[in-house]
Amino acid sequence: MLGPLVNVITGNSFQTIAQNTDAAVKIETALKAVGRPAFTLIDKNTDKDTRKYAAAKELLYQLLCFGIYLAIIPPVFKNGGFKLAQKIFKKEGMPAFKNAKQMLAYHHLAYMKPEERLLDKNKKFLDLITEDLTNPKDNNAKLLDYLIGADKKSGIHKKTLEKQGKMFDLAKGSIELSSIIGSVVGLTILAPEISHLILHPIMSALHLDSKEKTEAQPSKTADSVQKNLDKNA
């Protein structure tokens, strides 16, 4: 039983996702969007109406977070942060990657075995590595040669690439750092503020708020305080 699971988690795709902040946060947010409302619905500590209301609110909030994340992180923080890092670390001799996508494609290919890089499923990544991408620190050697070799059959193995500093950790790390900063800004500052503005109109439009309004009773219990606060949010 454990064999297939280990095969999946050690696969190239899973490994790339595990090393990629953007993908990991997307998965985490999607799981939160499913898990939190589901667990809110099965929580027997609160009454049925409160559960329904809280689950709907949580689902909408997490979907909103996911939308904000998709809209802001890749274009603004991932690419913007990468461009900024290219300017900051100009002296470090990074290859002139056009954008974060190109760098990540190189990293994804460099991570796998040389023979796997030429497979059809990886063609979309290989196509992004254009001939003009060179390494200034290695007599402007072509990055494509590192991956698939001059004869297009053999490439350099990941361990060698790592040893020779041709995985470009600085470039990859700058993308990850800006993605982490972007995730924090997007999910902790923008999402609560935007949800403040649009969550209740959406809930009213879906008639999820109407029952709450009629049932709101001034009470001192923890649930009612939270309910009242949720209404105000």
Binding site: I9, G35, A85, I88, F89, L170, S183, L187, P192
Partner: protein, 189 residues
């Protein structure tokens, strides 16, 4: 274009290189949980529309949720990661790859199942306890001065003034200037 001290430059370079070599999914989720734990209660407390009692309650609840999330991520990570070596030995895979995979798996497991489950179990009892405590405290110091209960009822000393007529003396003797008495009442501790 960018003026940056060499210390900041070196630290930034070190951080980027370290993240480039090994980026754990845990870093991002921990950063998010930590900042959410600070920012969400702050935003809630800044909301002028909600009443102060509800604000305090919600801010505490939000902070607590994120503290639970932060702790759960670390605990699950610590529990799952030691499985990497035996699993790698059993399946013949690279321990580093198994470790990376398990790390992401632990984050997914925690976000999707463990955090909501722990919150369901613990949040309500903790919040009920805190609300009770808060209400008790609130009753004790709700701003009303319990003069009637605690102040000993001493007879008001008669006003002796030769210049006052009988009517004025009677009137003055009926007025109790309690703020001038030193018994029972404590204002401002």
């Amino acid at each position: 274009m960018f003026i940056m001290s060499s210390f900041i430059y070196n630290q930034l370079k070190k951080t980027c290189e370290s993240l480039g070599k090994h980026n754990d999914a845990l870093y991002a989720v921990l950063a998010i949980a930590m900042f959410k734990g600070v920012m969400r209660p702050t935003f809630t407390m800044m909301d002028k529309k909600s009443d102060p009692k509800s604000k305090k309650y919600a801010a505490f609840r939000e902070g607590l949720t994120e503290a639970i999330a932060f702790g759960s991520y670390i605990a699950t990570h610590k529990m799952i990661l030691p499985l990497a070596v035996p699993l790698a030995k059993k399946t013949g895979k690279s321990p580093k790859k198994v470790k990376n995979g398990l790390s992401l798996l632990s984050v997914c497991l925690t976000a999707g199942i463990i955090i909501p489950l722990v919150c369901n179990w613990t949040l309500k009892p903790i919040m009920d306890g805190v609300t009770k405590l808060y209400n008790k405290k609130d009753k004790k110091s709700d701003g009303k001065l319990d003069i009637k209960e605690n102040t000993p009822q001493f007879p008001t000393p008669a006003v002796y003034s030769p210049n006052l007529n009988e009517e004025s003396k009677k009137l003055l003797n009926t007025v109790r200037i309690t703020s001038l008495q030193n018994y029972g009442m404590k204002v401002g501790g």
